[in-house]
Each structure stands twice: as structure tokens, then as C-alpha cells.
């Protein structure tokens, strides 16, 4: 009790004699109260032991409160017993009271009734070290000498027992305190200030400085220690910092908030709230952030850390070890174990007095190994950092610093999280199979708890009471209680978690198994609301609620079916849940719900209800359709025709889930075919003109996915879908809609007929306008569409006139691979026009394209190489330009080693263009282009054959290349190319053979491989280039024969 009182209890900082009114103190006081109250009954003997010194304090009791056992005289009260010196064991002269035994203390508390807490508080405030008064100043040492002082043994034994009892209490109190402290894992102003001070001390001017400067953006400190303006404090911000490091670009603008520290946009230019936008990950503390952002800082700090104060270091080491041993146990077990350890630490670190509270956060922070600057060494131990991260997650998850939050609630919630985490990992391996288009999953660990300032305890206790009733209620009472539960704000996270933490989910799910429809309905109505929380969703699945809901889908009550389907829709937001729905036959049942007659105006109330059932079913299927296997299951259950029918519904709330499901499923080929054949394109196009953006977005997205197919593209045009798509481009604020629309336009523009329509609707101008300030997903589609449109020459001028070239070239700097593929294609298409090429050249676009050849993604490489071809063709002084790229020629020749056919074809095409310039041809010959091209000749890919033959034809013109090709054995394979079905291959091959035939030995090889017959056939081709090349080649062969004959026969 001594240690707890002197160290853990939070004394008021103003006057040392008052206890602060904090939850920690409250928890500890109530523990002491309970202990004292029961002391008399539990330890009757010890209770009679007379204290060395009385406990004295000012009480609120009056003489009238006392009953028998006490002598009352006027205002004062005395106990009947007295100690050996004649002092009465209890003496009251209001307001002062003197007590000598625990017996009287507990009596007293029983008399006080509702003022108990105050009484204990007053007593402790007046007696700051009760242990000393009770057992004397040297209680501990006295006990050690116990063996020697036998004569007092009777009294001693009691004293020792009492001491042990009090020690027990002490430990208990410390546990409470530690539990409270452990939860404070968040940053506090004090912690940030401390860290900033440390960092400031690291700034300097010399060579060894770690940072250039650290300063706050504001010098004004609010009373709560924060520096951010109040409206930003609302978001948990503490302060903003400007840190200049030695290596990163100019300055780091950092925001420190209670959740961590992160970079923000900075205060350049117009200072809007936007400039505070987060633009980096959230780090645990400044040091971690700086380490990540500045390699110099990371390096120097780890060097300096070794020279840090050794005493501190010793301590950290100890803590980390402690945590290591506790790793296997659950976090809160470990907390118990660590309790004495922590208490001891507090002894060492804490100066007596009121600073305790300020110190806590940073203490905790060090314990967790988070001040990585110091315990670099320890952190390197494998596994520790992971473990401490885990603890951090808990720290932020539990109610933590929010001082009003309840004491024992977070305990249960912690356990809950643990178990759900465990469950998650166990199902993980199985989950893995289910790949799909699920982008925005909520698979993230539920490790954040919304900041709420509401008075949590009242709601929590009310919910707990209701759930208790629910457990023991008949159906009538159950319904009343359920209705009352619904009156809570169930979308609020505190209520959701309260329901879970008091075991409400179990009860609600059990109710689903009863026969009572009203109970089921009531329960589902609550579940439907609370499962908008991802933790609750997991808990429901873990408790087997999903199976029951699936089986409810068979019910005859339509309201019940609706609710079950809606709840499934809300729960099935993560893979495991979706899989579970499928495995329990939910997909089939949900598909059955879709069966209704949606066309026309509804006739009866009954039909209305059927529609509602179908709508809920579609909602659930929508959620489920994010998993590939569920898509397949929906198809097998006959869902497609039903969805197609719902698509004709006039009701918007029906259309959205139906189209949503379809567009989700359209990632599968079977659906794309079905959407086309079932005539759904017409309905999708019709709904593009709806007045609901969400619906429009899903329709556009479905068209986006389906328009890979030519027939679909034609259908979209036939149903006049292109115009509404172009109209939708004007909805630039809704980025999701814009992304879907531009995607649909992109895919549709693959058909030239569609491009003509787009020209008519002036889509290009709008698209070019969308090249700036858009999210990448939009850009990818816009650029893709421009790339397709640019295949028609007249559009090239349009793009140039609207100023589209510059933004396109600027996009070449990006990193998004999909975007780069489309941008290079678009730039390449633009480069086919000489005027465009001038602009591209002026912007140094070719260099940018060339540098993309270094991109690790083969698609980007190929696309860049294709784009380079027209650039070289149309640029002025192309040869000079290419030579100016240092190492550029070597780079492109090396790409001939790529395993990717498309890359090879594109590089061959580029080489053919490069080789037009003799100097460059000489350079690439030096880089070994001949043997590399020769090694590719055995390919059967017609595209590669064509460009390879072209490249060979061009490269023959330099030096002895023609002979070298012959030596490398390219002739025979090339002759085989003539048997290909592709006329373009023929042309290129004939040209290559013509070039090669300039060397007599090659002619001999060709002739041996029977080249003459096919070439003679090709002389009769309509293609003049082919004609000429074939004829020239035959001429060369013939010429050789003549020369030979002449030489032989004279």
C-alpha cells in the first residue's frame, strides 16, 4: 500500500495534499475502500491490532451517525475500548477523527453510507503514509529481526500478518495503476516536447550534426501543451514542426498528433487547410519518421546513440528482456508480470511529487522500445520490434488516454481483439486461394478506435444492463429490450463495441436460432446496424452468426428474409465471411431471393414486398460478388438472368445493387459474354442517363469491363451509349464516376467507328482537359482513350491544338506502370505527326521515353520502345538526337536479351529505325547487335519475325555485317519465314533476303534452302515493295549463277 500510495496515486499538482480526481485514482480508491470495508469480517484478529500511530483526518461524519458500541457525549464520540495508554480506539470531535484499528475503520465506513469514497480520500490525503503509522516507521526491518525478538511474538505475529495483507493490497493497487498506464500508448504534448528538445540538441553546424534545424511553426503554447490551433486540435493534432535535415530536399513539414507523426504538404503559397493534408505514412515518433526520411539522420543517430548515457541504457535493456520472456503470454498477463518491474522503474525514474502524470507517456514509450534512437542495439534482436508494435496497436486501440473511459471494459475488449486476431490468422492460409478484384477490402487489422468524447460509461452500463435482461427474458420482454437497444445510436462505435464487450452479440445471434419471429427481427435489426463496424463483422462471423442468417433466408416471413439478406450484405465485406456465405449455401438462397417481377408499376403490396426482398438479395450478392468463386457460384445458381430482369426495374434502389453486382462480376469472361447476349448492354446504356451518380458509375464501370469485346463496343454505339458517356465527362468532381466513365470511353474507343462518334461529340477536347490534376486511376483511362483516338491521324492535330502533348509528355515521369504503358502508347501515336514530334522533341520527350526502357516492367519497356520508333522516324536530326543519349544505344541493344516477345519485337522495330543512321548503326554493331539478332531468328512469332527481319535488313548495310549474319546462320531461318501466312512478314523477309543476297555465300545458302520458288511467287504479289525486294533478291542469286557459269565455262 505504501508504494502504491506514494508512487502510483496521482496527487494534485497544485497542493500536494489532494488527490486528483482521475479514473486511476478512482479505481484505486474503490479498491482500498472495498478492502477496508471487508477487513473486519475477513481478518477479525488483525482488525483488532492497535496502530502505532492513529490515523487522523477531517471527517464529514457527525456524532449522530454513530450507534451502539460507541459513547456519544454531545458532539464528540469515543469508542468503548481503548489502547494500553488509555486513548480510545476511535475518537471524534467533529470534524477531526482519530482511529486506531482496522476494526473501527471498517465500522466507520459502514456508517458513512454514500460518503464512503470521500471519507477514504480524506483519510488518505491526511495520512500520506498510512503503513508507517499503522506498523511503525521501521516496519520492514522490524519484521526481519522477528526471530530475535521472541518476547513480543504474539503481537509481532499479528503485525506481520497485517503487513502481508497490506502488501497484497499494495500489489493489487499497483496492478490497477500499471494497467491504466499501459494503455497510454499515444503521443502526448509532453512526449513530443521532450523529443523535440532532444532533436534540438542534435542540431548544429559542424560536420557531425544530425539535423540542420528543428522549430515549431507556432511559439504559442496552449494550456493543454498543444501548439496547433484549437480547430486542428480537434483532430488530435498537437503541433506542427519544420525540420531541416542535412540530406532530404529542403524541409520536412511535420505534424505531430496523438496518433503519431506524419509529413504534411507544408505552408508554401496560399495557406489553406489543404496544406495540412497528410502526405506520408504515420510514424510512431519523430525519430522513426526522420530515420525513414533522412538516411543521413538514421546513420548519424545510430552512431551517436552508442555514446548515450549508459545508465538509461541499462534500464532499457532490462525492460526489453522482460518483454521478451513474456512474449508468448497474452499482453495483459504480461502486464501483471511486469507490474513489480514497472513499479520499480517508477521508483528510479520518478521524482516525488506531482510530475508523475506528465512522465507516464514517455516512460511507457520507452518501455515499448519505441525510442529507437536509444535502444538501437536491443531493437536489432529479432522479433522484439514486431512484438512492441503489437503492443502499440493495443495501446492505441484501448481507450487509452481518454480519461473518461471505463476501467474494466478495455480488458475484455483487448481479449476480444486478441481472439479475433487469432481466428484471422488461422483462416489465413485458406483465404489465400480466393484471389479476386477485391481492391478496397477491410482486411486491415481493427486497430483503431474512433475518438469519442461522449460520456461512455453511462451508455456502456445501460447496454450491459439491457443485455443482462436479454439473457433472462421471455419473448415478450426480449422484444421490449431489443427495441430499447435499438434506441441507442448503433452507428456509433462506442455502442457497437459495448454490445460486443458485454456479450451482446452472442445473445443476439442466439436469438436468431429461436422460433420466435419477432425476436429474430428485433435481433437482426440491431445486428444490421452494428455490423457496419469491421470488428463487429468479424466477431459475428466468429460466433457463427452468418450460418444462421443464411438459414433464415429460407424463412417464409419476408421482412425477416430482407433483414437477413441486408445483414449478410453488411457482414460479407471480408473474404472469410464471403467464403462462409458460399460454403453454407447462401449464394443459391440469395439468388432465389432475386426472383420477382420488377417490370412496370407495382401492383400489390405483396409484390412490393417481393421487390424489397429482391433488393436486399441483390445487396447481399453485391457484397458477396467481390470473391471470384462467389461470382461463379452466382452464375451457377442462375443469377445472371435474374439480375438481367432486375436491371429492367424502374426503381433506382433496386438498380444500384443489381448493376453493382453485375459490374463486380464483369471481371469474369462468362459474365461479359452473358451481359452481351442477355441484352443487358441496352439497360446499362439507358441507366447511364440516370440522375443518380452511383448508378451511372456502376453502369459505366460495367461497360468499361465489358467493352474489351468488339461486339459489346458496337452495341454501346448502337444503343447511343457514347453520347451519355461523353456527357458524364463533365462530372469531374466525382472521381469514381470519372474513372469509370473514362474507362468506358477508353475501351469503347478501341473501335474506330466509336472514335468517329467521339470526334463528333468533341470528346477529345474534354479528355485533354482531364490530363491535369486527376487521380491516377482517371489518368490511366484518359490517356488510354487518347492513345486509341490518336490512331486516327486527324485526331493528332486535335490533341496538339488543345495542348494535349505537353501534359502527356509530363506524365512520362510517373511511376504507375499501367499509366506509363498507356502514356507511352499515346505519346508514340502522337509522334507519328511531324508537328507533334517537334513539340515532343522540345520537351525532351524522347529522352524520357528512352529512360523508360530501364523500367523493370516488360510491358512498359515494350510500349516505350514502340513509341520510340515513330519518334526517330519523324524527328529532325534523329541520328544526332539518339547519339546524344549517353549509353542509350547500349541499353536498347541489351534489351534484345529480354525473354518477353513483345519487348523483343518492339526493340527490333526500334533498332530498324536507329540503323537508318549509319553512325548509329556502327555503334550498335560494336555493341554486338548482329549475333544478338541472329540468336532470335528461330522464333515462330510472326510479329517478332517481321520486325526482326526488318532490323536484319537495315543492319546488313554496315561493313561486314552482311557476311556476319550469314556466318551466324540467319539465312536458313529467314527463308522459312517466307512460308508464314502474314504478308507483312513476307515483305520484311524479302527485304532482308535481298540485303543478305549481296554476299555470294548467302546466295548459295538461300538457294540450297529453296528460296527461289517462293520468291518467284512473291514477285507476282500486289505489294510493290515485296515485288521489288523479291525480284532484286532473285536477280542477285541469278547474277551469282551467271558469274559462276562464266568463270567455269569461260
Amino acid at each position: 500500500m505504501g508504494v502504491a500510495l506514494s508512487r502510483a496515486v496521482q496527487w494534485d499538482s497544485s497542493g500536494a495534499d489532494n488527490l486528483e480526481n482521475t479514473p486511476l485514482n478512482k479505481a484505486m480508491l474503490s479498491e482500498i475502500l472495498l478492502f477496508t470495508e471487508e477487513f473486519g469480517a475477513r481478518h477479525p484478529q488483525e482488525a483488532k491490532l492497535v496502530f502505532r500511530e492513529p490515523l487522523q483526518w477531517k471527517t464529514s461524519l457527525e456524532a449522530s451517525d454513530f450507534k451502539t458500541e460507541y459513547d456519544i457525549s454531545g458532539e464528540s464520540v469515543m469508542s468503548q475500548e481503548s489502547d494500553k495508554d488509555g486513548h480510545p480506539l476511535l475518537h471524534l470531535t467533529p470534524p477531526d477523527i482519530t482511529v486506531y484499528t482496522f476494526h473501527h475503520l471498517s465500522n466507520l465506513l459502514q456508517l458513512t453510507e454514500d460518503q464512503k469514497m470521500k471519507e477514504v480520500q480524506a483519510c488518505l490525503a491526511a495520512n500520506k503514509d498510512p503503513l508507517k503509522k499503522i506498523l511503525g516507521s521501521s516496519s520492514a526491518t522490524v519484521l526481519l529481526k522477528e526471530g530475535e525478538e521472541d518476547e513480543l511474538s504474539g503481537g509481532k505475529e499479528l503485525e506481520m500478518k497485517l503487513l502481508n495483507i497490506l502488501k497484497e493490497l499494495d500489489t493489487k493497487l499497483l496492478n490497477i495503476a500499471v494497467r491504466q498506464i499501459t494503455r497510454e500508448g499515444r503521443l502526448s504534448p509532453a512526449a513530443v516536447d521532450g523529443e523535440v528538445d532532444q532533436l534540438k540538441s542534435l542540431c548544429g553546424t559542424g560536420e557531425s550534426r544530425v539535423l540542420k534545424s528543428v522549430r515549431y511553426t507556432s511559439d504559442y503554447v496552449f494550456s493543454n501543451g498543444c501548439r496547433s490551433p484549437p480547430w486542428r486540435q480537434m483532430d488530435g493534432e498537437i503541433c506542427s514542426l519544420i525540420i531541416e535535415t542535412c540530406d532530404t530536399e529542403p524541409t520536412l513539414f511535420i505534424t505531430c498528433s496523438t496518433t503519431g507523426v506524419f509529413l504534411h504538404e507544408g505552408l508554401i503559397g496560399d495557406v489553406g487547410e489543404n496544406s495540412y493534408k497528410r502526405k506520408s505514412d504515420v510514424y510512431r515518433d519523430l525519430v522513426t519518421l526522420l530515420k525513414n526520411k533522412s538516411p543521413h539522420f538514421a546513420k548519424t543517430i545510430s552512431e551517436q546513440a552508442i555514446q548515450e548515457v549508459p545508465s538509461e541504457k541499462f534500464q532499457h535493456m532490462e525492460t526489453v528482456d522482460e518483454q521478451e520472456t513474456g512474449q508468448t503470454s497474452r499482453s495483459y498477463d504480461r502486464r501483471e508480470k511486469n507490474a513489480p518491474e514497472k513499479a520499480r522503474q517508477q521508483h528510479v525514474q520518478d521524482k516525488p511529487g506531482g510530475r508523475m502524470k506528465k512522465f507516464e507517456p514517455s516512460l511507457k514509450w520507452k518501455n515499448l522500445g519505441l525510442t529507437s534512437s536509444y535502444d538501437k542495439v536491443e531493437e536489432k534482436k529479432a522479433g522484439i520490434s514486431g512484438e512492441s508494435k503489437n503492443i502499440l496497436a493495443h495501446g492505441t486501440k484501448s481507450p487509452a488516454s481518454d480519461s473518461k473511459k471505463r476501467a474494466n471494459f478495455s480488458e475484455t475488449s483487448l481479449q476480444g481483439c486478441w481472439s479475433s486476431q487469432k481466428m484471422k490468422t488461422s483462416g489465413g492460409a485458406d483465404d489465400f486461394i480466393e484471389s479476386s478484384s477485391e481492391g478496397e477490402e477491410d482486411e486491415e487489422q481493427p486497430d483503431r478506435r474512433a475518438e469519442t468524447t461522449t460520456d461512455l460509461p453511462t451508455e456502456y452500463w445501460q447496454i450491459q444492463k439491457l443485455v443482462k435482461y436479454l439473457k433472462g427474458a421471455n419473448q415478450t420482454a426480449t422484444v421490449i429490450v431489443l427495441c430499447s437497444l435499438r434506441d441507442f445510436n448503433l452507428v456509433q462505435e462506442t455502442c457497437q463495441l459495448a454490445i460486443r464487450d458485454v456479450g451482446g452479440l452472442e445473445v443476439l445471434i442466439n436469438l436468431l436460432d429461436t422460433d420466435e419471429i419477432r425476436c429474430k427481427i428485433g435481433s437482426l435489426k440491431i445486428l444490421k446496424e452494428v455490423c457496419c463496424n469491421s470488428q463487429i463483422r468479424r466477431a459475428i462471423v466468429d460466433l457463427g452468426g452468418l450460418q444462421t442468417m443464411v438459414s433464415i433466408l429460407d424463412s417464409s416471413d419476408k421482412e425477416l428474409k430482407c433483414l437477413a439478406a441486408e445483414t449478410i450484405a453488411n457482414v460479407a465485406k471480408f473474404r472469410r465471411a464471403r467464403r462462409m456465405v458460399r460454403q453454407h449455401g447462401g449464394i443459391k438462397r440469395l439468388v432465389e431471393l432475386l426472383d420477382c417481377v420488377p417490370d412496370g408499376v407495382s401492383v400489390s403490396a405483396e409484390q412490393d414486398r417481393d421487390m424489397e426482398v429482391a433488393r436486399c438479395g441483390a445487396l447481399a450478392l453485391w457484397s458477396c460478388s467481390k470473391s471470384t468463386r462467389n461470382k461463379e457460384a452466382i452464375r451457377q445458381a442462375g443469377g445472371i438472368p435474374l439480375l438481367a430482369r432486375l436491371l429492367r426495374s424502374p426503381q433506382r434502389n433496386m438498380l444500384i445493387p443489381a448493376v453493382g453486382t453485375l459490374q463486380e462480376c464483369a471481371s469474369e469472361k462468362s459474365y461479359r459474354i452473358a451481359i452481351q447476349t442477355e441484352g443487358m448492354i441496352k439497360d446499362l446504356v439507358k441507366n447511364l442517363s440516370s440522375d443518380n451518380q452511383e448508378l451511372q458509375m456502376h453502369c459505366a464501370s460495367a461497360i468499361f469491363k465489358c467493352a474489351e469485346d468488339k461486339q459489346t463496343r458496337d452495341l454501346v454505339r448502337q444503343y447511343n451509349g457514347l453520347k451519355p458517356l461523353v456527357m458524364l465527362l463533365n462530372e469531374a468532381e466525382n472521381k469514381q464516376l470519372l474513372a469509370a466513365t473514362t474507362g468506358a470511353i477508353w475501351k469503347c474507343s478501341i473501335s474506330m467507328e466509336n472514335v468517329a462518334k467521339f470526334q463528333e461529340y468533341k470528346a477529345l477536347e474534354t479528355l485533354v482537359g482531364l490530363l491535369k490534376d486527376q487521380p491516377e486511376e482517371v489518368l490511366v483511362n484518359v490517356v488510354g482513350a487518347l492513345g486509341e483516338c490518336a490512331q486516327i491521324p486527324e485526331n493528332l492535330a486535335t490533341i496538339r491544338k488543345c495542348g494535349g502533348i505537353q501534359p502527356l509528355v509530363n506524365l512520362l515521369i510517373g511511376t504507375n506502370q499501367a499509366l506509363l504503358v498507356n502514356v507511352t502508347r499515346a505519346v508514340g501515336a502522337c509522334a507519328t505527326h511531324p508537328e507533334n514530334m517537334m513539340i515532343i522533341d522540345g520537351l525532351d520527350g524522347v529522352r524520357l521515353l528512352w529512360s523508360l526502357l530501364k523500367n523493370p516492367n516488360p510491358e512498359v519497356q515494350a510500349s516505350a520502345a514502340w513509341a520510340i520508333c515513330p519518334c526517330i522516324e519523324n524527328a529532325k536530326d534523329a541520328g544526332e538526337m539518339v547519339r546524344s543519349f549517353v549509353g542509350g544505344l547500349e541499353l536498347i541493344v541489351k534489351l534484345l536479351k529480354s525473354p518477353n516477345k513483345d519487348v523483343l519485337a518492339s526493340v527490333c522495330a526500334a533498332i530498324a529505325k536507329i540503323a537508318k543512321d549509319v553512325e548509329n548503326l556502327a555503334v550498335i554493331t560494336d555493341h554486338g547487335v548482329v549475333p544478338m539478332l541472329a540468336s532470335l531468328t528461330n522464333t515462330v512469332d510472326d510479329k517478332l519475325r517481321r520486325y526482326l527481319a526488318e532490323a536484319i535488313a537495315r543492319c546488313c548495310t554496315w561493313g561486314s555485317n552482311c557476311v556476319s549474319f550469314g556466318d551466324a546462320g540467319v539465312v536458313a531461318p529467314l527463308v522459312r519465314y517466307l512460308r508464314s501466312k502474314d504478308p507483312l512478314v513476307h515483305q520484311a523477309t524479302a527485304r532482308a533476303l535481298f540485303e543478305l543476297s549481296k554476299d555470294p555465300r548467302n546466295c548459295i545458302t538461300m538457294h540450297e534452302h529453296g528460296v527461289v520458288k517462293p520468291l518467284v511467287d512473291m514477285i507476282g504479289s500486289t505489294d510493290e515493295v515485296l515485288q521489288e525486294a523479291a525480284a532484286s533478291c532473285v536477280a542477285n542469286i541469278r547474277h551469282l549463277a551467271l558469274v559462276y557459269d562464266k568463270a567455269r565455262y569461260g
Binding site: 439491457l466 435482461y469 415478450t476 420482454a477 421490449i480 434506441d487 427481427i521
Partner: protein, 212 residues
């Protein structure tokens, strides 16, 4: 005799059809026949007035699955509109009309009458307590075993008492149920379940016709 009887029943059915909603004449006939059959089980003396309380409760229990004694009594009283302790054929048909086909508003009225034990037009706190007193498992450890029920009454009152006068008027009750259908049978089961209704209708309306 039988033919005349049939004629009588037909006439009765036709007249009743004009007075009672939701049934057609054929159904009405079936119900009257069923009533007569049930009467036949009773002793001669009582049969003149109609179904007595015991017999009626028997039907409620067996056919409509009701279990709560007090509620069954209240249902009997609600059926027995003239308060003569017997259910006449007209009362029978009217009651069943509500049981089987009643609209929400009709049911609200009926339930309110059932729950308004003393018929003063209000469901008072005491009446609620009386009806809910067995609805929670008592915790023997608690000081006041009725505390939970009292709390439940408070909860119900908070939910229903729109005009804050400490009791639930018909208007209160109506708006509550309109808001939340689940609270129609807030204080006890006094309407048959859907399944029971279906099986009763099947039995009552179809089997006799098969006999013809």
C-alpha cells in the same frame, strides 16, 4: 334436418358477411360450422349461450399455441364483447376475423384492449408490471427480485409514453406500434403466429369443402 340446418347456416353466413369484414360466405359458413362443432363438445346447458371460457381457452391453447394464462383470459374478454362470459357465434366470427385477417390498425386496437386490464383507456405502470412480472428470470441473489421487471416497465414506458403522462394511452400505443411493429404484442402474446394462422385456415376452410 341436416338440409334445413345447412339452409340455416347459409342464411346466417350471408347476414354475418354483411357485418363482419375479411371473410366471404363460404369461409363464413365454415367458421359457423366449426363453431357448432365446438359447441357440440360442450354440455347441453351451456351450449345455448355459446363457448364458455374453459372451452375457449382450450382452443386458444391447442389451436393458436397460446400459453400464458392471464393473456388467454384477456383474449377471452376481448372476444366476449357483451361480457356475458360466453362467446356467441357472432363474437367468434368477429374475433377470428381479427385473428386471421386483421389489419394493423385493428390489431393495435385489439392489443390495446387486451393490455388495458381495467379498461380505463390507459395502460398504467401497474398494469405493465402485472403483465411483465413473469417475463424475466429472477436472480435469487438480487436484493429486490422485482427490480428487473420494474426496470423493464420503465424501459417500456420510456419507449411508449409519447405524451409523458406516466401511462400509455391508445394514441401513444398506436404511434409506438406504427413506429415499430414489433411492439404490437409488447406485453404478452395475444395474437396467433403466422404458421398457426395458416394451419388453422387450411383446416377450417378446406377440409369441410372436401367433404362435400
Amino acid at each position: 334436418m341436416s338440409a334445413m340446418n345447412r339452409k340455416l347456416i347459409q342464411n346466417l353466413a350471408e347476414t354475418m358477411c354483411k357485418q363482419v369484414k375479411h371473410f366471404n360466405t363460404v369461409e363464413m359458413e365454415c367458421l359457423i360450422r366449426l363453431f357448432n362443432a365446438l359447441l357440440g363438445e360442450q354440455t347441453e346447458r351451456k351450449a345455448g349461450h355459446g363457448l364458455d371460457r374453459l372451452n375457449f381457452r382450450h382452443i386458444l391453447h391447442n389451436t393458436f399455441d397460446m400459453t400464458d394464462d392471464m393473456m388467454m383470459d384477456r383474449v377471452f374478454r376481448a372476444f366476449d364483447k357483451d361480457n356475458d362470459s360466453y362467446i356467441s357465434v357472432k363474437e367468434w366470427v368477429e374475433g377470428l376475423s381479427l385473428f386471421l385477417r386483421g389489419t394493423l390498425d385493428e390489431k393495435i386496437k385489439y392489443c390495446f384492449d387486451v393490455y388495458d386490464l381495467n379498461g380505463d383507456g390507459y395502460i398504467s405502470r401497474e398494469e405493465m408490471f402485472h403483465m411483465l412480472k413473469d417475463s424475466l428470470i429472477r436472480q435469487p441473489t438480487e436484493e429486490d427480485p422485482d427490480e428487473g421487471v420494474k426496470d423493464l416497465v420503465d424501459i417500456a414506458l420510456k419507449k411508449m409514453d409519447y405524451d409523458h403522462d406516466g401511462k400509455v394511452s391508445y394514441a401513444d400505443f398506436k404511434s409506438t406500434v406504427r413506429d415499430e411493429n414489433l411492439l404490437l404484442e409488447a406485453f404478452g402474446n395475444c395474437l396467433p403466429h403466422l404458421k398457426r394462422i395458416q394451419s388453422f385456415e387450411q383446416q377450417a376452410f378446406q377440409e369441410p369443402q372436401e367433404l362435400h
